[in-house]
Symmetry: C2
Amino acid sequence: MSEKNGLQKEIERKFRRFLLANELRQTPERFAILKAIYSIEGYFTIDFLQDIMQERRFPVSSSTLYKTTRLLVQANLLIQHPFNLATPVFERIEYNKPKSYQICNNCHKITRIVGKEMSDGLKAYRPRFFSVNHRVAYVYGTCPICQREMNKKIKKLEKQNNIKI
Amino acid sequence: MSEKNGLQKEIERKFRRFLLANELRQTPERFAILKAIYSIEGYFTIDFLQDIMQERRFPVSSSTLYKTTRLLVQANLLIQHPFNLATPVFERIEYNKPKSYQICNNCHKITRIVGKEMSDGLKAYRPRFFSVNHRVAYVYGTCPICQREMNKKIKKLEKQNNIKI
DNA sequence: GTCAGTGCAAACTTTTTGCAACTAC
DNA sequence: GTAGTTGCAAAAAGTTTGCACTGAC
């Protein structure tokens, strides 16, 4: 069995356990949605997910999508990002693999942070009485392009009005 | 001048700079909202903020609140949390003071993480070409109470149906 | 004086809910 | 067979927008 299939099975098992423990039913819709979500590499919105389901010849209503995504968040298989875009952005969770993002609050550009410092930093926290599933970090600030533009504008204003801002 | 007033002045200055740089006007509403937000210690929703403004004898319309909170997020003075509750949850930002939260996805209990490991861990990441304003981390998982309940339920089901889940 | 900001109400979008048909258990 | 799930349409909630008035610059 390939690595990918093994992971898929593990995820399905996790969801099955969750459904059983909460006395919820194992419907084809729920597993089809789970599978579709894990086929999406990056971020996605509810609308996009519905398109994917359509493409996969497994159309589902948006009420089902809303309910199922909520279940998956509860089951620690899905995350909803605080990107404050027009619509909520979701992303699959890979167990115990910390994820970090750098967000420019000016141009709203989001960059994934790679490299060990951040993921090691996140793993440094080991709670004694809490079973950790996944860790996510967001670093907010200003990207170099926006930084330069803002400085230029401020300087221009200071010169124009002969003031110190 | 007290520490608190100094901080307040610094925050107002930051907002003023932001408004100037973006050629936006310095209205009383904007500064009153900023002040109200920084008077709230924990999380808040738009509705709650509107109540606060009412109490402070500075009623503002919700359209103004939506517009101003968006500006404050852009100005790196406010953050919107990904708690997936009924309504979006906001919180003021304290510059360069990392914040972390532990979230039980089962009972939705949110706990602030205190202690050095996490904040030091977050500070370990120092991007070379990005001006960091603030860092936030979320640790998702299951709290001890929910953990125990889930285990109990799973065991009961396994016994009942003589299966291994 | 000009033009951006505010408040109101209406419009719009997103999400939830009630109900009949269906299906996992 | 029973009770949870789905899909549809309607309702509710959250957010944005158009417009007249106000006030920052």
